[in-house]
Each structure stands twice: as C-alpha cells, then as structure tokens.
Subunit: 193 residues, 2 copies
DNA sequence: CCCACACGATACCGCTCGGTATCTTGAGAT
DNA sequence: ATCTCAAGATACCGAGCGGTATCGTGTGGG
C-alpha cells in the first residue's frame, strides 16, 4: 500500500498518540517519528502543536457527527431507533483492547482554559450533540424531551468513564438496557415517575 | 492564623493547582512557590512528583469516603437516604465558580499507565464506591442492586462530565430528580420494567 | 526539459522540566 | 547554653520541550 501524504500520516499518528497517552504527554517529535516524517514537515502543515490538537479534535468530532447523520439517514422517522443506534455505537466502542476513554473527556481535562480554541470546539460539539438528542426525544413524543436527553447524556458519558476506571463490568450491555429503560420511562403515556 | 507546617502547605497547594490546571501542567516549582516554600523542602517530604500526586489523590479519595461514612452514621437504617445524600453531595459540588471537573476523571486522563500507583489508587477507590453503592441498593430492597448501582454511578459521573463541558444547565437539580426517578423505578414492587 | 517546491535530515535556539548539591539560619529539646 | 535538625535560599544538572534555520534531493507540472 502506498504511503499516505505526510499530512494524513501526521494526523493518524496524532490520533493514535493523543488518544493513547494524552496531549501534554506526547511531543511533536514523537508524532513526527510515528508518522515517519520530521518535525519540520509537521510544522509545514500545522502552525503550532495547539493547531494540530485542534485539527485532531475537529476530525474526531466530525466522525461522531457522521454517526448521527448516518443513523438519521437509516431511520428517518424512527427517533427511538436513532437514539438506540447512538447508544449501541457508544456501547460497542467501550471495550476494545484497553479502553482509552472518550477523547473529549480526556482532552478537556488537559485544557482548563475555556478560551482555548480546542476546548471551544469540544464544548460546541457536546452542545450540538445535546441539541440533536433533545430533538430526537421530542420527535419521539416524550413528555419532557429536555429531561430525557439530559438523562441519556449522563448515562452515555458515565458509561465511558466507568469503563475507563474499571468500576463496571460489561458496561456495554448494561448501557443498552439502561438506555432502553430510560426511553420507556419517558415514553410512557403518563403514570410512572 | 499561624502558618501550617510545610508539608500541609505543599499538599494544599498541590490540591489547588492539580485540580485547577492538571497534573502535567503544573511543575513542582509552581507548587513550592504557592506553598511559600522551596523545591528542596518539597523533595524533603515527597520522594518524587509522582509520590506527591499519589498522596494528593489519596487525600481526595479519603475525603469522598468520609462523606459515605458520615451519611451512614447519619442515616444508619435508611439506605435510600444515604444514596440521596451522596447524590446531593455531588450535585452541590457541581457549580462553584467555574467547575473544574472530578479530580479522578481528570487525573485518569493523564495517567494512561494502568500500573501507575496513582492510577491504581483511583481504580481501587472507584471500585470501592461501587461496592458500597451496590450494598446500599441491596439493603434498600431493590430487585437488581447491581443494575441500580451501575445506573446511579453512570448518572453521577455523567453529571460531572456534562457540567464540565457545559452541555447541561442546572445539572445539580436535574441530577437529583434523575437519581430519585432511578431509585423509584428500581424500588417499584414489580411492574415497570 | 527544467524548475519550483514539498519533503526529508540535521543542527540549533531558549526555556522549563524533574531532581540534586551546598550552605546558612533559626527554633526546640536536653 | 548547646546541639540537632528541619527549613530556606541559590545554583546547578541533564534532558526534553515547542519551534526555527539551513540545506540537499527528488519528483511532478509547465
């Protein structure tokens, strides 16, 4: 297979190293090395390390958004199926040899400055996901879409951190059951609560 | 007020800086400076920076455990009250000028090495919390204590993450309502799901 | 054909990091 | 009164950081 152009190799290397080791723990030299190129080539494509971090997170966010889009396309008028699809996507990503944790949750821990462009990007992405989820809950006819979307968001995020710190086994299957239960409860004609 | 002994000042400074800026982002020099002492004094009390990180996390974990203990003492035979007390404790900690996020969630992102002593400490603490929560659910007579404890854990962790990334407003009140709903559902004699 | 330009390699910059060595000072215990 | 030992101050170490300068080289488009 032909080698990818340097910029792509650098982004692939960044994805691998940033998500495995963290942002601060990885030097530009190491990224260039793993991309089989040099620091100079890296700085020809990215102004600073921060800019590379930003671009990496932009791509990760776009990939997540693409999942939402694909599910919307696959189940145009089935909001419940879309929500379960998202949950399934997260659940399936949980194991994988040694879970590295959500790139957004991990990165935000290393970006305490709320004005940092990469952090702004993360917050915008999370806000956007929240909006879409709320919309889906509304279209599913739930009585309190805002509350339902919040609960689902909490559960999805919580499943990822609990998997990362090893406090929950079989988090994927548990996550699916929990999301279904949450959907049922919020979809109930009334009663419950 | 008399100055605390150097070791305490260093631990206070570490708490402040590590939780605000992150582990890797803070140098030992900065910690010594904020503790109004010197690097040498720091290394007289802690073998390495890692040892200081570990001690800091040990204290944070002990503080959380103390909350569990205090609640157990206050409501000896009311497991539900204890669980709600924990949720209230987390909920109340959510705001606070610019939420810094959970120290464990943040630190684990900077400690990808599962054999690192500080990471082991975090995982042991989270596993312990999970065990206590499961026990409380069992004593509350829930039909599936394991599932209930998992769901509550997910929700508690998720609330912290979502507050940190700003995707949810009024996370505290929402968290309380959700935990109550989860308890009700799992406590229901049968029915529901 | 040739020339521009991305690429790669190497050496370098100033700075900060974690960690150490040395020496002075001051207060508490005997 | 003296001895001890924690505490403070300062200077230093090697290493790695993010970022830059320079210079050959190969290849693809005019």
């Amino acid at each position: 297979m032909a080698k990818l152009p340097p910029r792509e190799r650098i982004l692939d290397a960044a994805e691998e190293l940033f998500s495995r080791e963290g942002i601060k723990a990885v030097g530009v030299q190491a990224i260039a090395g793993r991309a089989e190129t040099t620091k100079m080539a890296l700085y020809r494509h990215f102004a600073t390390k921060d800019a590379l971090v930003e671009e990496w997170l932009r791509i990760v966010a776009a990939d997540y958004t693409a999942v939402f889009d694909r599910l919307e396309e696959a189940h145009p008028d089935e909001p419940r199926a879309q929500i379960l699809g998202i949950a399934r996507f997260i659940a399936d990503g949980l194991p994988g040899i040694s879970h590295r944790g959500c790139p957004f949750i991990n990165s935000i821990a290393e970006l305490p400055d709320r004005t940092h462009p990469a952090r702004r990007l993360i917050e915008a992405h999370k806000a956007n996901q929240m909006r879409r989820l709320t919309d889906l809950c509304a279209r599913a006819g739930m009585s309190d879409p805002d509350e339902a979307a919040t609960e689902i968001t909490f559960v999805l995020e919580g499943a990822q951190v609990s998997t990362q710190n090893g406090s929950v086994e079989d988090a994927g299957e548990r996550l699916m059951r929990i999301v279904e239960a949450v959907l049922d409860r919020h979809s109930a004609p009334k009663a419950a609560r």
